[in-house]
Symmetry: C2
Subunit: 214 residues, 2 copies
DNA sequence: CGACGGCTTGAGAATACTCAATATCGGTGG
DNA sequence: CCACCGATATTGAGTATTCTCAAGCCGTCG
């Protein structure tokens, strides 16, 4: 178990592993030369994280706990063995990874080509959509534990400007806030503001051959 | 063979395929609701492109030829069969994909957390480093066929501002230009300006088990 | 030659940042 | 229980970066 704020895997750690998130939230980030931080992705329960380390001798990114978090380590050699022994599983993992890559691309577009307000909206919508994937009870209200500083590092903004965009979203009746509790009041409009495309509805595993065990 | 500017795979094309770039350059991009474009990645000879379509029934991104380009199609069903029949190849492809994901993450950090000048510098450095991977004869001078509009779409800037940043880089003695020909005059300094980390030097395929054919 | 796409430059506007001060909130020690 | 502390959130004022609009230039192609 890692406490909020703990580094789960320091950048440049040799022989590092991948994990499955058991409970809690964490994020991956990289540091730039000037000390600024870019959060690459928020990882929610059920996600696999840190796979990219499998391609490099050193971990390319750091993992930090957003809330108290439990993770299950996956040995990287075991991962490769899995590819050899259970190729269908390997193929499935490959597809999953491709889906993550598409998601990263969407984020790139959000940060590169949309306004601050839109980026914040996109982060919120994407988070709630992903939460619903593993917890169908999530409605339009959920706990969002990131600080505004962290939201800024995820969206390429400063904490101050994140704060202003939040209040704009509130003023326009798109969301409501109460400490960590966040409510989406007008999801269609928030989705539009965010230029958000929900690709999870189109994930296509049908390409995989049927399991040999039927 | 596709001509410069041709769409190699229109977004939303069903049953689309992946490709290997044989000759020429192309890029992948996505369009946002307001018509703006984000270029996700430049694809050079030897690259695999369009793999992400394997996870979705519809292609998530569009491919466009930057120069005249030759590509070799890869059927997506054949790709999955490869995973089943040649798991070691599948694992290798998986690692390659992870490496691309790290690269995407670096670009996210560049666009989210660095200045316009830095982003343009990063695009140039990254391109020359990748060119050298498959063509060791590339020195510090090479043909860079993107228009400033396209560079803007790749870096999250406007064409006008890309132009200004180019002239700053020239004025500071970091690069020189002559129509499409681009020369890097001071690579260490340009690398520093770009906050660029060359991760290609650390790619680690050693994790793969030795080939069964020795 | 004329049209067109791409490049260059200027001026003004908009967006987002920095710095700084104040407020709030949860937790801690007395 | 209360005062205090650090971390986070909020707000204002001024600044910087980047964008938009607009005009002119340059080279290529038909």
């Amino acid at each position: 178990m890692y406490r909020r704020g703990a580094l789960i895997r320091p950048e440049r750690d040799r022989g590092s592993e991948a994990y499955v998130v058991n409970s809690g939230w964490l994020f991956s980030f990289i540091l730039l030369g000037d000390g600024s931080r870019q959060i690459l992705r928020l990882h929610l329960p059920g996600d696999m994280v840190g796979l990219s380390c499998s391609a490099f001798s050193d971990a390319a990114e750091t993992l930090m706990a957003v809330t108290d978090v439990r993770v299950i380590p996956i040995d990287r050699n075991a991962l490769i063995e899995m590819f050899m022994e259970y190729p269908r599983l390997g193929a499935a993992l490959f597809l999953l990874t491709q889906a993550e890559q598409v998601s990263l691309g969407d984020r790139l577009a959000s940060i590169g080509r949309t306004t601050a307000k839109s980026r914040v909206a996109a982060l919120l919508i994407d988070t709630v959509v992903r939460l619903r994937q593993t917890n169908s009870e999530i409605g339009s209200s959920f706990v969002f534990p990131l600080t505004q500083e962290e939201i800024g590092d995820a969206t390429g903004l400063t904490a101050v400007h994140v704060n202003r965009m939040f209040r704009v979203l509130v003023r326009e009746g798109l969301i409501a806030r109460n400490s960590n509790q966040l409510s989406i009041l007008d999801e269609p409009r928030l989705t539009a503001v965010a230029s958000y495309v929900n690709r999870y509805v189109e994930f296509d595993g049908s390409i995989l051959p049927p399991s040999s065990r039927g």
